[in-house]
Symmetry: C2
Subunit: 215 residues, 2 copies
DNA sequence: GTCTATATTGAGATAGAC
DNA sequence: GTCTATCTCAATATAGAC
């Protein structure tokens, strides 16, 4: 039983639905166990519709993975367009990434499932590179802060792992618990706490009244 | 067709091999996709041998999961039998957990695969509780440190997330990369760095020459 | 009992009408 | 753009010879 075509104003509603349902099913059943039939049934369309929008199941999967990449790239671009202290920009980066993840929780959950779960014949996606990119971005920000004197000369690697590790734990909390025990504000505090550890002791390095210090 | 009982000298070599091969296969193919046939073939025994040592595939799986629990419990027990400053004990806990994980990397990898991957009909194991236990243990240590004045009065939740998050990121690095970019010593430094942020400014709170400050 | 050849199933993918 | 109907192919199950 057909439903009338969607209004053109809603750009490719069907395409979005297919991706969303695929994400949900990949999370629940894994890539290989999820059939094209199940995806189209969940999206309320038929098989050819899927093959019209995506070349194949594999291609659909890759487009989903690509959407994750876009989320990260957006945040890194936004970062480059942001002014402010290194501290502010680091907090902005992490909070922004958490916000993006929050708006796309199911796809983040899928990324974790793919990364840690069994391969299942799904095309390889280099999630390690994502992590490296975040690590490198934070490292560069720290390096800048050390140059300007906003941050004391320290072992950047150590600070990077503390920051990125904390971020990841808080991110995981968002989709592994029904009621996360730590949120956006907690992240701001954690990042702030770690950065306090490398703030200069001199008054000019103080950071009162900054954007993210509230709570 | 029964096999004779294993020589008592080699304490259940076969049993261990079965568990190890099961772990490897569960990681590679997932729980449901791994057949009993594949496990026994990898261990070089026949099906009845598996059913002799373990009641079922499910039971074998549960014993593997139980071995993870034992690893954590051991570390928490060791902690209670450890003297030293709060700082030392926190570092000892994290380093000890990393060491345990290192000696049992494949089972840790499996735990992550199960936790984040698709359910696959495997019996439920409450991994969240593991995480909570670590969080609570660290929190209690921090609380003790605040009472004794070794640590300044701070938002313990924030410090806990920073510590446990960093630990987890470093743990994941151990089994997600062929050559981890951070190791045991890095963990000590990260934990030390975070704890420095809550150390009292007064000289009596200083922590020179402690067990884990080398590197 | 074991092996090989054949059925059956169910997956991804497509052709062509509307 | 979407449908019905169909194709191809691989894995699995089964039958029947040996």
């Amino acid at each position: 039983m057909r439903v009338t075509a969607p209004p053109v104003g809603i750009l490719n509603d069907v395409r979005q639905r297919l991706m969303q349902e695929a994400i949900t099913l990949f999370v629940q059943q894994g890539y290989s166990a999820t059939t094209v039939r199940a995806i189209v049934a969940a999206a309320g369309v038929t098989k050819p519709v899927l093959y019209y929008y995506f070349k194949s199941k594999e291609n659909l999967y890759l487009e989903i993975m690509n959407s994750i990449r876009k989320l990260l790239d957006q945040r890194i671009e936004m970062l480059h367009a942001t002014a402010g202290s290194v501290r502010q920009r680091i907090q902005e980066l992490f909070v922004g990434m958490l916000d993006s993840a929050h708006e796309n929780l199911s796809v983040v959950r899928l990324a974790y499932a793919i990364y840690f779960g069994p391969p299942q014949g799904a095309p390889f996606v280099d999630f390690n590179h994502f992590f490296d990119e975040i690590l490198d971005t934070v490292d560069a920000l720290l390096a800048e802060g050390i140059t300007t004197g906003e941050i004391v000369d320290c072992n950047r690697t150590i600070i990077c792992w503390a920051l990125v590790g904390s971020y990841q734990a808080i991110l995981e909390e968002q989709f592994c618990r029904v009621t996360p025990r730590i949120d956006r504000n907690g992240l701001i505090q954690v990042v702030g706490q770690i950065l306090d550890g490398v703030a200069p002791k001199t008054p000019q390095g103080a950071h009162q009244g900054e954007k993210y210090e509230a709570m």
